[in-house]
């Protein structure tokens, strides 16, 4: 029973992949912008210098703008000399000052006129920086580059704490996601369990509809067995047995994956419903040759094309004139129109599928599929699918649930008229013959394959035998030669 077609699965996978790739790209961008500021202090020393040389580029491009605003100071040698000392000392003594004095120091470094100054300043810088930060820093052979690096470091150390946090963005995001995931797992699991229990308490406990219809409820052997079987965090099963016309009923609740945060986010984009599926296993003598389905228009067309037995036997049935029928949103798929008319009784139309009733009660209805030619081990089955309302509004689906025992009785008692039966018999015979032919073809192919394999084996055996026979012949010949040679000796001895 295919719940989702492979196409929709792949589509959903595509959605997930696009969301992930967008997420990945965004985070990569954030991490890329943060790298030059902080990654330099990680263990990778080779990368450090690579990153710094890249940084020198943008820094150098920035300085011309700043230097243009102060043309007078750059052209002079004298006055700027004491100035850098006085201007750089404040940032050294006060590591948390703003970056403005540090940026002005760049002007003097980058200009070729002031090559001497970085060497004067560098010992001061080195001594003070090492005492202030105490971190390891490999000096390269190029003093300018190392000083630039030191000054970058000083600038970075001035504003270190906020940049630290910013550069840990990936870790922060991922750890918070994991924490939220864990919290959501427990809350989502509990929510799903509450929903399943709410359903069971409304429809499966004492004096409820299933209790009145089935003698054995639950998944165990005894009377006190648990009602629901939890197959996964979002799959719950309910079993009932002991009724006329049917051997059992299995209700499977497939809820939204509320415990899984990624699925929950995905379901915000692609909508999903909590679905309950009833499978009623009919007795062989209780169900006549009926193939019938009822669903909303779009879904009806899809299932008529995809589900095997509907594809083979049934067709879309247009609403007949002069008769009360299901509303426009619903579509009937059936083998024969007579059967369809017999199954859509007045009672059903009044209660659930009539125009007025459907507006009120029909919003949770998904599909009905009754067939005696289902694929799989159980051929005679009634399958009803409904959407689950939320935990507080379980009573909204009581009328839909009441359809289940009603249809068990209706189909259990239903007998086809002779005309309808003749048509259905003919159709089934045809299909059975086709299946038989297919089986025969398959068997023949299997036999041919076996024969070919046996032939191959025989040939191999023969080739082996021939090789062995050759060896034996050679051995015999050698033995004969030996004998001949030895026999000559004997003759000679005798002589």
């Amino acid at each position: 029973m295919a719940k989702r077609s492979p196409l929709s699965r792949f589509r959903r996978l595509l959605y997930v992949i696009t969301i992930l790739s967008v997420f990945f790209l965004l985070l990569h961008r954030i991490s890329a912008t943060n790298e030059p500021h902080f990654e330099g202090f990680d263990a990778d020393e080779d990368d450090e210098f690579v990153i710094e040389s890249n940084d020198v580029g943008p820094v150098r491009s920035r300085t011309p703008h700043i230097s243009l605003s102060e043309p007078t100071s750059e052209s002079l040698h004298g006055p700027p000399n004491p100035k850098p000392d006085s201007e750089i000392l404040p940032p050294v003594s006060d590591p948390n000052s703003n970056s403005k004095p540090a940026s002005t120091s760049f002007d003097y470094w980058d200009e070729d006129e002031f090559e001497g100054i970085p060497q004067d300043l560098s010992p001061e810088n080195i001594a003070i920086k090492e005492s202030a930060t105490g971190s390891d820093f490999d000096l390269s052979s190029d003093p300018e580059k190392s000083d630039l690096g030191k000054d970058l470091k000083s600038e970075a150390s001035d504003v270190r704490p906020p940049k630290n946090l910013m550069s840990y963005s990936i870790e922060i995001v991922c750890v918070t996601f994991l924490v939220v995931f864990a919290i959501n797992y427990f809350t989502g699991k509990r929510e799903n369990e509450n929903l399943a229990l709410a359903w069971a308490s409304k429809f499966a406990t004492k004096d409820s509809i299933f209790e009145k219809n089935f003698s054995l409820l639950g998944v165990g052997e005894t009377e006190d067995s648990p009602l629901l079987l939890k197959e996964g965090n979002n799959v719950f099963k309910f079993y009932a047995s002991g009724r006329r016309f049917c051997s059992g009923l299995l209700a499977t609740m497939e809820l939204k994956s509320r415990h899984d945060l990624i699925s929950r986010l995905y379901n915000m984009v692609v909508p999903c419903k909590d679905v309950i599926t009833f499978e009623v296993y009919m007795n062989d003598d209780a169900m006549d040759q009926v193939v019938f389905a009822l669903a909303r228009k779009k879904l009806a067309k899809t299932i008529q094309k995809e589900v095997r037995d509907l594809q083979r036997f049934a067709a879309l049935v247009p609403p007949p004139s002069g008769k009360k029928w299901v509303p426009e949103e619903l579509q009937v798929v059936s083998e024969s129109k007579e059967v369809a008319g017999d199954l859509i009784t007045d009672a059903v139309l009044d209660q659930v599928f009539g125009d007025k009733a459907f507006e009120k009660f029909g919003k949770d209805f998904i599909s009905l599929h009754f067939s005696d030619q289902h694929l799989g081990s159980n051929k005679k089955m009634l399958v009803l699918k409904f959407a689950l309302p939320d935990a507080n509004h379980m009573a909204d689906m009581s009328r839909l649930i009441a359809l289940v025992p009603y249809y068990i009785d209706l189909i259990g008692r239903y007998k086809l008229s002779s005309q309808a039966r003749s048509k259905t018999e003919a159709a089934r015979l045809k299909v059975a013959q086709e299946i038989y032919k297919e089986l025969q073809n398959a068997r023949q192919e299997a036999l041919q394959q076996k024969k070919a394999e046996q032939r191959k084996k025989l040939e191999e055996a023969q080739s082996k035998l021939s090789a062995e026979a050759l060896r034996k012949k050679e051995a015999k010949e050698r033995a004969r030669q030996m004998k001949k040679s030895s026999s000559k000796l004997k003759i000679s001895r005798a002589n």
Partner: protein, 102 residues
Amino acid sequence: MASQSNDPRQPSAARPYKPSIVAPQDLPIDYSGFIAVVFGVFGAMFRYKLCSWLAIIFCAQSLANMRNFENDLKQISMAMMFGIMGLVTNYMGLGPRSSPKS
């Protein structure tokens, strides 16, 4: 639509529940575990921190969706090992770093 005057129940016909056996090949594919392994290998080999973290996140999703404890745990533990290995190599800088190949 309720049951008629006679009780529809037949205690004699009651059969206990037999869970349908699903072959291991027919089980739904664990996409999140597979993606976790892919990201884990990627992150460990190419030193992308983000990939290793994503591997851990998808491992967590696979764990959350795990149905059969014994069968699924092997794949999930393998994916988790890849992810943790990726994180360790990224943060502790073990091994040679000159070449991207590990």
